[in-house]
Amino acid sequence: SQKIEQNSEALNIQEGKTATLTCNYTNYSPAYLQWYRQDPGRGPVFLLLIRENEKEKRKERLKVTFDTTLKQSLFHITASQPADSATYLCALDMLTGYSTLTFGKGTMLLVSP
């Protein structure tokens, strides 16, 4: 069966360090992978999209990699700040052709001052 796995335990890091979150998937062949941020009681907010033919994508302090051989995406936040504390969700398209995403459970990131 299709499965998306993200670190189930919260990730605690010190301010200024680089946070690395992992998204692994099985039995999928996604054309795109997206990362979202979700704060408590709020809807997810889109961060980055990476295509299967792209190895890496950057946006300010954020970097995403996509390895279709390993079936894995890594999400990096450099120079992390307490304001980066949130749950981060990875999502894969279902290849329906219409913006339909399958989400992982998300990883909670806690950045301490």
């Binding site: 998306i4 054309a31 795109y32 997206q34 979202y36 009681g41 709020r42 809807g43 997810p44 907010v45 889109f46 999209l49 295509r51 969700l89 999502a91 398209d93 279902m94 290849l95 329906t96 052709g97 219409y98 913006s99 339909t100 995403l101 399958t102 989400f103 992982g104 459970k105 998300g106």
Partner: protein, 115 residues
């Protein structure tokens, strides 16, 4: 510009009742999707509508239904509520370009509690 708006923000219902949740997409967005998010889980796809037609349906029972209006707003209806329907219901809109790389813009959801 206003983002995706959902109403109501919170709702408490009793088992067996029905509920209607409403969503207004970002201006210019023609696609609306509904997701259910149970505590501790990621959002799970329920429906997608584009130009008032259902384009996708997730693995949810027939008690769940939705529709999209000419102004692209949408309603999600759930009949015969069960305790397990308690969740955050998220609406998302997107610029539908006919492929799956359009980011979703989510509202802040309706928190439904079934007692």
């Amino acid at each position: 510009d206003a983002g995706v708006t959902q109403s109501p923000t919170h709702l408490i219902k009793t088992r067996g009742q029905h509920v209607t949740l409403r969503c207004s997409p970002i201006s210019g967005h023609k696609s609306v999707s509904w997701y259910q998010q149970v505590l501790g889980q990621g959002p799970q796809f329920i429906f997608q509508y584009y130009e008032k037609e259902e384009r996708g349906r997730g693995n949810f029972p027939d008690r769940f239904s939705a529709r999209q209006f000419p102004n692209y707003s949408s309603e999600l209806n759930v009949n015969a509520l069960l305790l397990g329907d308690s969740a955050l219901y998220l609406c998302a809109s997107s610029l539908e370009t006919g492929n799956s790389n359009s980011p979703l813009h989510f509202g802040n959801g309706t928190r439904l509690t079934v007692t």
